[in-house]
Protein backbone atom coordinates (compact mmCIF):
# COMPACT_ATOMS: atom_id res chain seq x y z
CA UNK A 1 0.00 0.00 0.00
CA UNK A 2 2.55 2.54 1.04
CA UNK A 3 4.52 2.35 -2.18
CA UNK A 4 1.54 4.06 -3.81
CA UNK A 5 2.00 7.11 -1.63
CA UNK A 6 5.37 8.03 -3.04
CA UNK A 7 3.98 9.40 -6.31
CA UNK A 8 1.60 11.95 -4.84
CA UNK A 9 4.40 13.03 -2.52
CA UNK A 10 6.94 13.28 -5.33
CA UNK A 11 4.38 15.02 -7.52
CA UNK A 12 3.48 17.50 -4.82
CA UNK A 13 7.09 18.37 -4.04
CA UNK A 14 8.02 18.64 -7.69
CA UNK A 15 5.22 21.13 -8.22
CA UNK A 16 6.65 23.35 -5.50
CA UNK A 17 10.11 23.25 -7.01
CA UNK A 18 8.79 26.08 -9.15
CA UNK A 19 6.33 27.87 -6.90
CA UNK A 20 5.89 30.80 -9.28
CA UNK A 21 5.17 28.63 -12.27
CA UNK A 22 2.84 26.41 -10.29
CA UNK A 23 1.01 29.39 -8.85
CA UNK A 24 0.60 31.02 -12.24
CA UNK A 25 -0.68 27.80 -13.74
CA UNK A 26 -3.09 27.13 -10.89
CA UNK A 27 -4.27 30.75 -10.91
CA UNK A 28 -4.99 30.59 -14.63
CA UNK A 29 -6.74 27.29 -14.12
CA UNK A 30 -8.71 28.66 -11.20
CA UNK A 31 -9.91 31.66 -13.19
CA UNK A 32 -10.91 29.43 -16.08
CA UNK A 33 -12.75 26.93 -13.91
CA UNK A 34 -14.36 29.71 -11.89
CA UNK A 35 -15.66 31.41 -15.03
CA UNK A 36 -16.99 28.16 -16.40
CA UNK A 37 -18.59 27.17 -13.10
CA UNK A 38 -20.25 30.55 -12.92
CA UNK A 39 -21.37 30.45 -16.54
CA UNK A 40 -22.79 27.01 -16.04
CA UNK A 41 -24.66 28.21 -12.95
CA UNK A 42 -25.98 31.19 -14.94
CA UNK A 43 -27.16 28.83 -17.60
CA UNK A 44 -28.79 26.49 -15.12
CA UNK A 45 -30.46 29.41 -13.38
CA UNK A 46 -31.65 30.85 -16.64
CA UNK A 47 -32.99 27.52 -17.86
CA UNK A 48 -34.65 26.87 -14.55
CA UNK A 49 -36.36 30.23 -14.84
CA UNK A 50 -37.48 29.62 -18.38
CA UNK A 51 -38.72 26.18 -17.49
CA UNK A 52 -40.59 27.51 -14.49
CA UNK A 53 -42.08 30.37 -16.42
CA UNK A 54 -42.94 28.11 -19.26
CA UNK A 55 -44.35 25.24 -17.25
CA UNK A 56 -46.25 27.43 -14.86
CA UNK A 57 -47.64 29.96 -17.29
CA UNK A 58 -50.53 27.59 -17.90
CA UNK A 59 -49.49 23.95 -18.05
CA UNK A 60 -48.35 23.06 -14.51
CA UNK A 61 -45.72 20.41 -13.82
CA UNK A 62 -47.80 17.30 -14.36
CA UNK A 63 -51.28 16.73 -15.76
CA UNK A 64 -53.55 13.75 -15.37
CA UNK A 65 -56.18 13.16 -18.05
CA UNK A 66 -58.48 10.43 -19.16
CA UNK A 67 -56.47 8.19 -21.46
CA UNK A 68 -56.18 9.71 -24.95
CA UNK A 69 -57.38 13.20 -24.06
CA UNK A 70 -54.16 15.04 -24.86
CA UNK A 71 -54.03 13.66 -28.38
CA UNK A 72 -57.73 13.89 -29.19
CA UNK A 73 -58.75 16.90 -27.08
CA UNK A 74 -62.23 15.37 -27.00
CA UNK A 75 -64.39 16.46 -24.08
CA UNK A 76 -65.93 12.99 -23.98
CA UNK A 77 -62.62 11.72 -22.67
CA UNK A 78 -63.04 13.16 -19.17
CA UNK A 79 -62.65 12.07 -15.58
CA UNK A 80 -66.02 11.52 -13.92
CA UNK A 81 -64.78 11.35 -10.35
CA UNK A 82 -61.88 13.77 -10.01
CA UNK A 83 -62.31 14.10 -6.24
CA UNK A 84 -61.27 10.52 -5.67
CA UNK A 85 -58.11 10.92 -7.74
CA UNK A 86 -57.38 14.22 -5.99
CA UNK A 87 -57.60 12.71 -2.53
CA UNK A 88 -55.53 9.75 -3.67
CA UNK A 89 -52.65 11.93 -4.75
CA UNK A 90 -52.84 15.15 -2.77
CA UNK A 91 -50.76 13.90 0.13
CA UNK A 92 -48.08 12.19 -1.95
CA UNK A 93 -44.54 13.36 -1.35
CA UNK A 94 -43.32 16.10 -3.72
CA UNK A 95 -46.86 17.26 -4.50
CA UNK A 96 -47.16 20.93 -3.69
CA UNK A 97 -50.61 21.57 -5.09
CA UNK A 98 -53.39 20.00 -7.16
CA UNK A 99 -56.18 21.68 -9.10
CA UNK A 100 -58.89 20.70 -11.56
CA UNK A 101 -59.66 22.19 -14.93
CA UNK A 102 -61.81 21.77 -17.99
CA UNK A 103 -60.02 22.56 -21.20
CA UNK A 104 -62.06 22.98 -24.38
CA UNK A 105 -61.73 24.72 -27.73
CA UNK A 106 -64.67 26.83 -28.77
CA UNK A 107 -65.90 30.03 -30.25
CA UNK A 108 -65.99 33.36 -28.41
CA UNK A 109 -68.44 36.00 -29.57
CA UNK A 110 -69.05 39.62 -28.66
CA UNK A 111 -71.74 41.95 -29.95
CA UNK A 112 -69.89 42.43 -33.23
CA UNK A 113 -67.22 39.73 -33.66
CA UNK A 114 -66.26 36.05 -33.32
CA UNK A 115 -62.93 34.38 -32.65
CA UNK A 116 -61.60 30.93 -31.85
CA UNK A 117 -60.81 30.50 -28.16
CA UNK A 118 -59.21 28.05 -25.81
CA UNK A 119 -61.44 27.99 -22.75
CA UNK A 120 -60.17 26.98 -19.33
CA UNK A 121 -62.63 26.28 -16.56
CA UNK A 122 -60.57 26.70 -13.40
CA UNK A 123 -60.97 26.75 -9.62
CA UNK A 124 -60.61 30.50 -9.09
CA UNK A 125 -58.78 30.30 -5.74
CA UNK A 126 -56.70 27.14 -6.19
CA UNK A 127 -55.61 28.18 -9.67
CA UNK A 128 -53.71 31.14 -8.21
CA UNK A 129 -51.39 28.69 -6.43
CA UNK A 130 -50.91 26.62 -9.55
CA UNK A 131 -50.22 28.71 -12.66
CA UNK A 132 -49.02 32.23 -13.21
CA UNK A 133 -52.20 33.23 -15.06
CA UNK A 134 -53.50 35.36 -12.18
CA UNK A 135 -50.25 37.31 -12.11
CA UNK A 136 -50.67 38.44 -15.71
CA UNK A 137 -53.78 40.55 -15.06
CA UNK A 138 -53.23 43.76 -17.03
CA UNK A 139 -56.57 45.36 -16.30
CA UNK A 140 -59.61 44.51 -14.20
CA UNK A 141 -59.22 41.59 -11.80
CA UNK A 142 -58.83 37.82 -11.54
CA UNK A 143 -62.03 35.74 -11.31
CA UNK A 144 -63.79 37.18 -8.23
CA UNK A 145 -65.02 34.62 -5.72
CA UNK A 146 -68.73 33.90 -6.04
CA UNK A 147 -69.00 35.62 -9.44
CA UNK A 148 -70.10 32.52 -11.37
CA UNK A 149 -70.27 34.18 -14.79
CA UNK A 150 -66.98 36.00 -14.56
CA UNK A 151 -64.47 35.63 -17.42
CA UNK A 152 -60.84 36.65 -17.78
CA UNK A 153 -59.45 36.72 -21.28
CA UNK A 154 -56.27 37.37 -23.15
CA UNK A 155 -55.86 40.99 -24.17
CA UNK A 156 -55.18 40.00 -27.77
CA UNK A 157 -58.44 38.10 -27.93
CA UNK A 158 -60.28 41.01 -26.30
CA UNK A 159 -58.92 43.24 -29.07
CA UNK A 160 -60.15 40.88 -31.76
CA UNK A 161 -63.57 40.80 -30.17
CA UNK A 162 -63.41 44.52 -29.50
CA UNK A 163 -64.59 44.16 -25.90
CA UNK A 164 -63.36 45.33 -22.47
CA UNK A 165 -64.06 45.04 -18.76
CA UNK A 166 -67.76 44.70 -17.98
CA UNK A 167 -68.73 43.62 -21.51
CA UNK A 168 -70.73 40.54 -22.32
CA UNK A 169 -69.06 37.49 -23.85
CA UNK A 170 -70.74 34.40 -25.30
CA UNK A 171 -68.86 31.11 -25.41
CA UNK A 172 -69.86 28.22 -27.63
CA UNK A 173 -68.48 24.69 -27.69
CA UNK A 174 -69.38 21.11 -28.54
CA UNK A 175 -70.51 19.17 -25.46
CA UNK A 176 -69.57 15.51 -24.91
CA UNK A 177 -72.76 14.29 -26.64
CA UNK A 178 -71.95 16.26 -29.78
CA UNK A 179 -74.45 19.10 -29.46
CA UNK A 180 -73.38 22.71 -29.37
CA UNK A 181 -73.96 24.58 -26.11
CA UNK A 182 -73.48 28.25 -25.38
CA UNK A 183 -73.23 30.33 -22.23
CA UNK A 184 -73.00 34.00 -21.37
CA UNK A 185 -70.16 35.44 -19.30
CA UNK A 186 -69.06 38.92 -18.29
CA UNK A 187 -65.50 40.15 -18.74
CA UNK A 188 -63.88 40.92 -15.38
CA UNK A 189 -60.24 41.03 -16.30
CA UNK A 190 -57.68 40.91 -19.10
CA UNK A 191 -54.37 39.08 -19.00
CA UNK A 192 -51.18 39.90 -20.82
CA UNK A 193 -48.53 37.19 -20.53
CA UNK A 194 -46.34 38.08 -23.49
CA UNK A 195 -47.00 34.62 -24.89
CA UNK A 196 -49.00 34.92 -28.06
CA UNK A 197 -50.74 31.55 -27.80
CA UNK A 198 -52.07 32.66 -24.43
CA UNK A 199 -52.93 36.29 -25.05
CA UNK A 200 -54.68 35.71 -28.38
CA UNK A 201 -56.56 32.58 -27.43
CA UNK A 202 -57.32 32.12 -23.79
CA UNK A 203 -60.58 32.55 -21.90
CA UNK A 204 -60.68 31.66 -18.21
CA UNK A 205 -63.97 30.99 -16.47
CA UNK A 206 -64.99 29.39 -13.15
CA UNK A 207 -64.95 25.59 -13.27
CA UNK A 208 -68.45 25.20 -11.84
CA UNK A 209 -70.01 27.29 -14.58
CA UNK A 210 -68.00 25.51 -17.27
CA UNK A 211 -69.26 22.13 -16.02
CA UNK A 212 -72.82 23.38 -16.07
CA UNK A 213 -72.51 24.97 -19.53
CA UNK A 214 -70.98 21.83 -21.01
CA UNK A 215 -73.27 19.47 -19.13
CA UNK A 216 -70.39 17.62 -17.49
CA UNK A 217 -71.69 17.34 -13.95
CA UNK A 218 -68.69 16.95 -11.68
CA UNK A 219 -66.35 15.78 -14.47
CA UNK A 220 -63.11 17.55 -15.50
CA UNK A 221 -60.53 17.06 -18.27
CA UNK A 222 -57.33 18.00 -16.43
CA UNK A 223 -55.99 17.37 -12.98
CA UNK A 224 -53.00 19.68 -12.71
CA UNK A 225 -50.16 19.11 -10.29
CA UNK A 226 -47.46 21.41 -9.09
CA UNK A 227 -44.41 19.60 -7.75
CA UNK A 228 -42.16 20.91 -5.01
CA UNK A 229 -39.28 21.27 -7.48
CA UNK A 230 -38.37 20.66 -11.08
CA UNK A 231 -36.12 17.77 -10.23
CA UNK A 232 -39.02 16.08 -8.48
CA UNK A 233 -41.23 16.12 -11.59
CA UNK A 234 -40.04 12.99 -13.36
CA UNK A 235 -39.91 10.71 -10.30
CA UNK A 236 -43.27 12.03 -9.17
CA UNK A 237 -44.79 11.28 -12.57
CA UNK A 238 -43.42 7.74 -12.28
CA UNK A 239 -45.00 7.25 -8.88
CA UNK A 240 -48.28 8.70 -10.11
CA UNK A 241 -48.32 6.26 -12.99
CA UNK A 242 -47.78 3.40 -10.58
CA UNK A 243 -50.46 4.57 -8.22
CA UNK A 244 -53.02 5.27 -10.95
CA UNK A 245 -52.37 2.38 -13.29
CA UNK A 246 -55.47 0.39 -14.39
CA UNK A 247 -57.66 3.48 -14.12
CA UNK A 248 -57.40 4.44 -17.81
CA UNK A 249 -55.65 7.67 -17.07
CA UNK A 250 -52.64 9.33 -18.67
CA UNK A 251 -49.95 11.05 -16.58
CA UNK A 252 -48.01 13.62 -18.58
CA UNK A 253 -45.16 15.88 -17.57
CA UNK A 254 -45.02 19.44 -18.85
CA UNK A 255 -42.32 18.40 -21.30
CA UNK A 256 -44.59 15.67 -22.63
CA UNK A 257 -47.36 18.18 -23.21
CA UNK A 258 -45.44 20.92 -25.03
CA UNK A 259 -43.00 19.86 -27.74
CA UNK A 260 -41.17 23.17 -27.45
CA UNK A 261 -39.90 22.10 -24.06
CA UNK A 262 -38.04 19.25 -25.70
CA UNK A 263 -36.06 21.71 -27.79
CA UNK A 264 -35.04 23.59 -24.70
CA UNK A 265 -33.83 20.44 -23.07
CA UNK A 266 -31.75 19.67 -26.18
CA UNK A 267 -30.40 23.18 -26.22
CA UNK A 268 -29.43 22.92 -22.57
CA UNK A 269 -27.69 19.63 -23.28
CA UNK A 270 -25.73 21.06 -26.18
CA UNK A 271 -24.71 24.01 -24.04
CA UNK A 272 -23.54 21.69 -21.28
CA UNK A 273 -21.34 19.76 -23.70
CA UNK A 274 -19.83 22.97 -25.00
CA UNK A 275 -19.01 24.09 -21.47
CA UNK A 276 -17.42 20.74 -20.71
CA UNK A 277 -15.39 20.82 -23.91
CA UNK A 278 -14.16 24.30 -23.03
CA UNK A 279 -13.21 23.09 -19.54
CA UNK A 280 -11.11 20.33 -21.07
CA UNK A 281 -9.45 22.73 -23.51
CA UNK A 282 -8.70 25.23 -20.74
CA UNK A 283 -7.16 22.55 -18.56
CA UNK A 284 -5.13 21.17 -21.45
CA UNK A 285 -3.90 24.59 -22.49
CA UNK A 286 -2.86 25.53 -18.97
CA UNK A 287 -1.41 22.28 -17.85
CA UNK A 288 0.14 20.52 -20.81
CA UNK A 289 2.73 23.20 -21.36
CA UNK A 290 3.67 23.34 -17.69
CA UNK A 291 4.03 19.59 -17.49
CA UNK A 292 6.13 19.39 -20.64
CA UNK A 293 8.43 22.09 -19.29
CA UNK A 294 8.69 20.31 -15.99
CA UNK A 295 9.48 17.07 -17.78
CA UNK A 296 12.21 18.51 -19.97
CA UNK A 297 13.94 20.01 -16.95
CA UNK A 298 14.00 16.64 -15.29
CA UNK A 299 15.31 14.46 -18.11
CA UNK A 300 18.42 13.65 -16.13
CA UNK A 301 16.38 12.78 -13.07
CA UNK A 302 14.16 10.48 -15.10
CA UNK A 303 17.28 8.80 -16.44
CA UNK A 304 18.59 8.44 -12.93
CA UNK A 305 15.32 6.96 -11.71
CA UNK A 306 15.32 4.58 -14.64
CA UNK A 307 18.85 3.50 -13.79
CA UNK A 308 17.80 2.84 -10.21
CA UNK A 309 15.14 0.46 -11.46
CA UNK A 310 12.02 2.62 -11.56
CA UNK A 311 9.84 1.11 -14.26
CA UNK A 312 8.17 2.98 -17.10
CA UNK A 313 4.83 2.37 -15.46
CA UNK A 314 5.96 3.92 -12.23
CA UNK A 315 7.39 6.89 -14.10
CA UNK A 316 4.07 7.21 -15.89
CA UNK A 317 2.12 7.13 -12.64
CA UNK A 318 4.33 9.80 -11.15
CA UNK A 319 3.70 12.24 -14.00
CA UNK A 320 -0.02 11.58 -14.03
CA UNK A 321 -0.18 12.20 -10.32
CA UNK A 322 1.71 15.41 -10.64
CA UNK A 323 -0.71 16.67 -13.28
CA UNK A 324 -3.73 15.60 -11.28
CA UNK A 325 -2.50 17.48 -8.25
CA UNK A 326 -1.90 20.60 -10.29
CA UNK A 327 -5.41 20.46 -11.68
CA UNK A 328 -6.94 19.64 -8.31
CA UNK A 329 -5.36 22.70 -6.71
CA UNK A 330 -6.39 25.00 -9.55
CA UNK A 331 -9.75 23.31 -9.89
CA UNK A 332 -10.55 23.54 -6.18
CA UNK A 333 -9.68 27.23 -6.11
CA UNK A 334 -11.77 27.74 -9.25
CA UNK A 335 -14.76 25.91 -7.83
CA UNK A 336 -14.62 27.90 -4.61
CA UNK A 337 -14.44 31.16 -6.52
CA UNK A 338 -17.01 30.34 -9.20
CA UNK A 339 -19.30 28.52 -6.79
CA UNK A 340 -19.08 31.38 -4.28
CA UNK A 341 -19.96 33.91 -6.96
CA UNK A 342 -22.82 31.74 -8.18
CA UNK A 343 -24.24 31.42 -4.67
CA UNK A 344 -23.85 35.13 -3.99
CA UNK A 345 -25.51 36.16 -7.23
CA UNK A 346 -28.04 33.39 -6.80
CA UNK A 347 -29.21 35.34 -3.75
CA UNK A 348 -28.81 38.81 -5.26
CA UNK A 349 -29.86 38.07 -8.81
CA UNK A 350 -28.17 39.64 -11.81
CA UNK A 351 -30.25 42.44 -13.26
CA UNK A 352 -30.05 42.41 -17.02
CA UNK A 353 -32.93 44.80 -17.60
CA UNK A 354 -30.50 47.27 -19.19
CA UNK A 355 -30.27 44.81 -22.05
CA UNK A 356 -34.04 44.53 -22.07
CA UNK A 357 -34.45 44.24 -25.83
CA UNK A 358 -32.62 40.96 -25.89
CA UNK A 359 -34.91 39.72 -23.18
CA UNK A 360 -38.22 40.45 -24.80
CA UNK A 361 -38.03 36.70 -25.37
CA UNK A 362 -41.17 35.47 -23.80
CA UNK A 363 -40.34 33.28 -20.87
CA UNK A 364 -37.39 35.22 -19.51
CA UNK A 365 -37.21 37.58 -16.59
CA UNK A 366 -34.68 40.39 -16.67
CA UNK A 367 -33.17 39.22 -13.38
CA UNK A 368 -31.21 35.98 -13.52
CA UNK A 369 -30.47 33.93 -10.42
CA UNK A 370 -27.48 31.64 -11.04
CA UNK A 371 -28.17 28.14 -9.80
CA UNK A 372 -25.40 25.87 -8.55
CA UNK A 373 -26.51 22.34 -9.36
CA UNK A 374 -24.43 19.49 -7.94
CA UNK A 375 -24.68 17.58 -11.24
CA UNK A 376 -23.24 20.50 -13.17
CA UNK A 377 -20.46 21.00 -10.65
CA UNK A 378 -19.51 17.33 -10.71
CA UNK A 379 -19.60 17.28 -14.49
CA UNK A 380 -17.20 20.21 -14.64
CA UNK A 381 -14.95 18.55 -12.07
CA UNK A 382 -15.02 15.37 -14.12
CA UNK A 383 -14.15 17.27 -17.28
CA UNK A 384 -11.29 19.05 -15.52
CA UNK A 385 -9.85 15.77 -14.30
CA UNK A 386 -10.33 14.25 -17.72
CA UNK A 387 -8.41 17.17 -19.20
CA UNK A 388 -5.74 16.65 -16.56
CA UNK A 389 -5.48 13.01 -17.51
CA UNK A 390 -4.93 13.87 -21.15
CA UNK A 391 -2.50 16.65 -20.29
CA UNK A 392 -0.68 14.27 -17.97
CA UNK A 393 -0.64 11.35 -20.37
CA UNK A 394 1.46 13.07 -22.98
CA UNK A 395 4.45 13.96 -20.77
CA UNK A 396 3.93 10.78 -18.78
CA UNK A 397 4.10 8.72 -21.94
CA UNK A 398 7.22 10.59 -23.06
CA UNK A 399 8.85 10.19 -19.67
CA UNK A 400 8.10 6.51 -19.55
CA UNK A 401 9.69 5.94 -22.94
CA UNK A 402 12.98 7.58 -22.09
CA UNK A 403 16.05 5.39 -22.34
CA UNK A 404 17.93 5.84 -19.07
CA UNK A 405 21.30 6.12 -20.88
CA UNK A 406 20.03 8.83 -23.19
CA UNK A 407 18.37 10.75 -20.40
CA UNK A 408 21.51 10.55 -18.26
CA UNK A 409 23.55 12.16 -21.01
CA UNK A 410 21.31 15.25 -20.98
Amino acid sequence: MDHLMVYPVLGWRNLWQHPMRTLLTTAALAVGIAALTFLSAMDDGWLQQIKTNFALTVTGHIQIHAEGFEDSQKLALNMKDPDRIMTDISNMAAVQGVTRRIRVSGLASSAGANAGALVYGVEPVAEQQMSRLATFISSGSWLPEGDVRAAVLGDGLANKLNIGIGDKLVLMAAVPGGDIASEVFRVRGLVHSGVMEVDDLIVIVPLGMAQKWLGMGNAVTDIVIRATSFDAVTPLAERLRERLHDRHLEVLRWIDIDPMAEQWADFADAYTWIVLAVVIVVVLAEVLNTMLMSMHERMHEFGLMGALGVTSRQMFAMMVWETMLLVLIGGAAGFLLGGGLALWYGEQGIDLSRFAIAFSFMYMDPVIHPLLRPESVFRILGAALFGAMIAGLIPAWKASRLEPVMALRE
Binding site: V6, E301, A307, L308, G309, V310, S312, V405
Partner: protein, 229 residues
Amino acid sequence: MADILIQAAALHKSYASGDAVVKALDGVDLVVERGAFVVLSGRSGSGKTTLLNMFGALDRPDCGTLTLAGQDLLAMSAAERARFRLRHLGFVFQAYNLIRVLNARENVAYVLQLQGMDKKQRFASADRWLAAVGLAGFEQRRPDQMSGGQQQRVAVARALAAAPDLILADEPTANLDSHNGESLIALMERLNREEGTTFVIASHDPTVIAAARTLVTMQDGRIEAVNHL
Protein backbone atom coordinates in the same frame (compact mmCIF):
# COMPACT_ATOMS: atom_id res chain seq x y z
CA MET B 1 38.40 -20.83 -7.79
CA ALA B 2 36.95 -17.37 -7.27
CA ASP B 3 33.29 -16.67 -7.93
CA ILE B 4 32.80 -14.91 -11.27
CA LEU B 5 30.40 -11.95 -11.26
CA ILE B 6 30.75 -10.43 -14.72
CA GLN B 7 31.68 -12.31 -17.84
CA ALA B 8 31.88 -10.24 -21.02
CA ALA B 9 33.07 -11.57 -24.36
CA ALA B 10 33.51 -9.89 -27.73
CA LEU B 11 31.36 -6.87 -26.90
CA HIS B 12 30.95 -4.50 -29.80
CA LYS B 13 29.11 -1.21 -29.88
CA SER B 14 29.19 1.38 -32.64
CA TYR B 15 27.61 4.79 -32.87
CA ALA B 16 26.93 6.65 -36.05
CA SER B 17 28.11 10.22 -35.67
CA GLY B 18 27.36 12.06 -38.87
CA ASP B 19 28.83 10.04 -41.74
CA ALA B 20 31.46 8.39 -39.57
CA VAL B 21 30.95 5.31 -37.43
CA VAL B 22 32.49 5.45 -33.95
CA LYS B 23 33.42 2.10 -32.48
CA ALA B 24 32.81 2.80 -28.81
CA LEU B 25 33.48 -0.84 -27.95
CA ASP B 26 35.52 -2.88 -30.36
CA GLY B 27 35.70 -6.40 -29.01
CA VAL B 28 35.84 -6.27 -25.24
CA ASP B 29 36.52 -9.44 -23.21
CA LEU B 30 36.56 -9.08 -19.47
CA VAL B 31 35.96 -11.19 -16.39
CA VAL B 32 35.28 -9.57 -13.02
CA GLU B 33 35.30 -11.64 -9.86
CA ARG B 34 32.95 -11.14 -6.97
CA GLY B 35 34.42 -8.78 -4.38
CA ALA B 36 36.76 -7.11 -6.87
CA PHE B 37 37.62 -3.43 -6.82
CA VAL B 38 38.05 -2.60 -10.50
CA VAL B 39 38.99 0.73 -11.99
CA LEU B 40 38.47 1.32 -15.72
CA SER B 41 40.89 3.94 -16.92
CA GLY B 42 41.75 5.34 -20.30
CA ARG B 43 41.58 8.54 -22.30
CA SER B 44 38.42 10.41 -22.87
CA GLY B 45 36.39 8.63 -25.53
CA SER B 46 38.06 5.29 -24.97
CA GLY B 47 34.74 3.61 -24.13
CA LYS B 48 34.69 3.52 -20.32
CA THR B 49 31.16 4.85 -19.91
CA THR B 50 29.89 2.70 -22.75
CA LEU B 51 31.25 -0.44 -21.10
CA LEU B 52 29.92 0.58 -17.71
CA ASN B 53 26.46 1.10 -19.20
CA MET B 54 26.61 -2.44 -20.61
CA PHE B 55 27.44 -3.83 -17.16
CA GLY B 56 24.66 -1.66 -15.71
CA ALA B 57 22.01 -3.19 -18.00
CA LEU B 58 21.39 0.34 -19.24
CA ASP B 59 22.58 -0.28 -22.77
CA ARG B 60 23.02 -3.30 -25.03
CA PRO B 61 25.97 -4.19 -27.22
CA ASP B 62 25.57 -4.71 -30.97
CA CYS B 63 27.01 -8.17 -30.51
CA GLY B 64 28.89 -10.24 -27.96
CA THR B 65 27.85 -12.00 -24.77
CA LEU B 66 27.41 -10.64 -21.29
CA THR B 67 26.39 -12.42 -18.11
CA LEU B 68 26.14 -10.85 -14.68
CA ALA B 69 25.51 -12.80 -11.48
CA GLY B 70 24.85 -15.80 -13.69
CA GLN B 71 22.14 -14.09 -15.74
CA ASP B 72 22.25 -13.32 -19.44
CA LEU B 73 21.73 -9.57 -19.60
CA LEU B 74 21.25 -9.56 -23.34
CA ALA B 75 18.24 -11.85 -23.19
CA MET B 76 16.27 -9.52 -20.94
CA SER B 77 13.42 -7.17 -21.87
CA ALA B 78 13.52 -3.52 -20.78
CA ALA B 79 11.25 -4.24 -17.82
CA GLU B 80 13.34 -7.25 -16.79
CA ARG B 81 16.46 -5.13 -16.97
CA ALA B 82 14.82 -2.48 -14.77
CA ARG B 83 13.98 -5.15 -12.21
CA PHE B 84 17.49 -6.56 -12.48
CA ARG B 85 19.02 -3.13 -11.82
CA LEU B 86 16.79 -2.70 -8.81
CA ARG B 87 17.77 -6.07 -7.30
CA HIS B 88 21.39 -6.46 -8.30
CA LEU B 89 23.01 -3.13 -9.14
CA GLY B 90 23.89 0.16 -7.52
CA PHE B 91 24.93 3.31 -9.38
CA VAL B 92 27.04 6.33 -8.55
CA PHE B 93 27.23 8.82 -11.39
CA GLN B 94 29.43 11.82 -11.86
CA ALA B 95 26.87 14.29 -10.51
CA TYR B 96 23.17 14.85 -9.92
CA ASN B 97 22.82 11.42 -8.42
CA LEU B 98 19.92 12.29 -6.20
CA ILE B 99 16.25 13.02 -6.64
CA ARG B 100 16.16 16.69 -5.81
CA VAL B 101 12.81 16.76 -4.02
CA LEU B 102 13.75 13.98 -1.61
CA ASN B 103 16.02 14.45 1.39
CA ALA B 104 19.05 12.25 2.05
CA ARG B 105 17.11 9.67 4.03
CA GLU B 106 14.31 9.51 1.47
CA ASN B 107 16.76 9.20 -1.41
CA VAL B 108 18.35 6.17 0.20
CA ALA B 109 15.01 4.75 1.32
CA TYR B 110 13.42 5.22 -2.12
CA VAL B 111 15.27 2.29 -3.65
CA LEU B 112 14.43 0.15 -0.63
CA GLN B 113 10.81 1.15 -1.07
CA LEU B 114 10.93 0.07 -4.71
CA GLN B 115 12.32 -3.22 -3.46
CA GLY B 116 9.26 -3.51 -1.24
CA MET B 117 10.70 -2.87 2.20
CA ASP B 118 8.28 -1.35 4.73
CA LYS B 119 8.64 2.20 5.91
CA LYS B 120 10.09 1.75 9.37
CA GLN B 121 12.67 -0.73 8.20
CA ARG B 122 13.79 1.27 5.22
CA PHE B 123 14.15 4.52 7.17
CA ALA B 124 16.19 2.71 9.81
CA SER B 125 18.33 1.14 7.12
CA ALA B 126 18.77 4.48 5.36
CA ASP B 127 19.93 6.14 8.56
CA ARG B 128 22.36 3.30 9.22
CA TRP B 129 23.92 3.63 5.78
CA LEU B 130 24.06 7.41 5.97
CA ALA B 131 25.97 7.01 9.23
CA ALA B 132 28.24 4.45 7.57
CA VAL B 133 29.23 6.98 4.91
CA GLY B 134 29.78 9.67 7.54
CA LEU B 135 26.53 11.55 7.09
CA ALA B 136 24.84 11.02 10.46
CA GLY B 137 22.86 14.20 11.11
CA PHE B 138 22.30 14.93 7.41
CA GLU B 139 19.23 12.72 7.03
CA GLN B 140 16.83 15.61 6.50
CA ARG B 141 18.93 17.58 4.05
CA ARG B 142 17.77 17.97 0.52
CA PRO B 143 20.41 17.61 -2.24
CA ASP B 144 20.65 21.37 -2.74
CA GLN B 145 21.51 21.71 0.95
CA MET B 146 24.55 19.42 0.66
CA SER B 147 27.98 19.77 -0.92
CA GLY B 148 28.95 17.77 -3.99
CA GLY B 149 30.99 15.37 -1.84
CA GLN B 150 28.12 14.84 0.55
CA GLN B 151 25.74 14.18 -2.33
CA GLN B 152 28.15 11.57 -3.72
CA ARG B 153 28.28 9.91 -0.31
CA VAL B 154 24.49 9.77 -0.21
CA ALA B 155 24.63 8.07 -3.60
CA VAL B 156 27.10 5.53 -2.23
CA ALA B 157 24.88 4.94 0.80
CA ARG B 158 21.91 4.45 -1.51
CA ALA B 159 23.82 2.02 -3.70
CA LEU B 160 24.97 -0.03 -0.72
CA ALA B 161 21.67 0.00 1.17
CA ALA B 162 20.07 -1.96 -1.66
CA ALA B 163 22.58 -4.80 -1.01
CA PRO B 164 23.56 -5.11 -4.67
CA ASP B 165 25.97 -7.57 -6.26
CA LEU B 166 27.75 -4.77 -8.01
CA ILE B 167 28.20 -1.04 -7.69
CA LEU B 168 29.02 0.86 -10.86
CA ALA B 169 30.53 4.32 -10.54
CA ASP B 170 31.19 6.60 -13.51
CA GLU B 171 33.70 9.35 -12.71
CA PRO B 172 32.42 9.59 -9.13
CA THR B 173 35.14 12.06 -8.12
CA ALA B 174 35.15 14.25 -11.23
CA ASN B 175 33.13 17.01 -9.63
CA LEU B 176 34.90 16.88 -6.28
CA ASP B 177 38.04 18.62 -4.99
CA SER B 178 40.99 16.34 -4.31
CA HIS B 179 40.31 16.07 -0.59
CA ASN B 180 36.68 15.07 -1.09
CA GLY B 181 37.69 12.80 -3.95
CA GLU B 182 40.19 10.98 -1.78
CA SER B 183 37.79 10.49 1.08
CA LEU B 184 35.05 9.23 -1.25
CA ILE B 185 37.37 6.66 -2.80
CA ALA B 186 38.62 5.67 0.65
CA LEU B 187 35.01 5.12 1.66
CA MET B 188 34.39 2.90 -1.33
CA GLU B 189 37.52 0.89 -0.63
CA ARG B 190 36.54 0.39 2.98
CA LEU B 191 33.01 -0.72 2.05
CA ASN B 192 34.47 -3.09 -0.55
CA ARG B 193 36.65 -4.65 2.13
CA GLU B 194 34.05 -4.72 4.89
CA GLU B 195 30.94 -5.59 2.90
CA GLY B 196 32.56 -7.52 0.10
CA THR B 197 30.57 -5.55 -2.46
CA THR B 198 32.06 -5.53 -5.95
CA PHE B 199 32.94 -2.12 -7.41
CA VAL B 200 33.62 -1.20 -11.02
CA ILE B 201 34.67 2.43 -11.28
CA ALA B 202 35.35 4.33 -14.51
CA SER B 203 37.78 7.17 -13.88
CA HIS B 204 40.90 8.91 -15.05
CA ASP B 205 41.46 10.48 -11.63
CA PRO B 206 44.95 9.44 -10.39
CA THR B 207 43.66 9.08 -6.83
CA VAL B 208 41.10 6.56 -7.99
CA ILE B 209 43.59 4.73 -10.18
CA ALA B 210 45.96 4.53 -7.23
CA ALA B 211 43.27 2.79 -5.20
CA ALA B 212 42.54 0.15 -7.86
CA ARG B 213 43.15 -3.51 -7.08
CA THR B 214 42.33 -4.40 -10.65
CA LEU B 215 43.24 -1.73 -13.16
CA VAL B 216 41.71 -2.09 -16.59
CA THR B 217 43.14 0.26 -19.18
CA MET B 218 41.05 0.99 -22.25
CA GLN B 219 41.91 2.53 -25.57
CA ASP B 220 39.74 3.04 -28.67
CA GLY B 221 37.08 0.70 -27.44
CA ARG B 222 39.49 -2.12 -26.59
CA ILE B 223 41.01 -3.36 -23.40
CA GLU B 224 44.69 -2.62 -23.57
CA ALA B 225 45.78 -4.09 -20.26
CA VAL B 226 44.43 -5.70 -17.10
CA ASN B 227 46.69 -5.34 -14.07
CA HIS B 228 46.04 -6.99 -10.72
CA LEU B 229 47.67 -4.81 -8.10
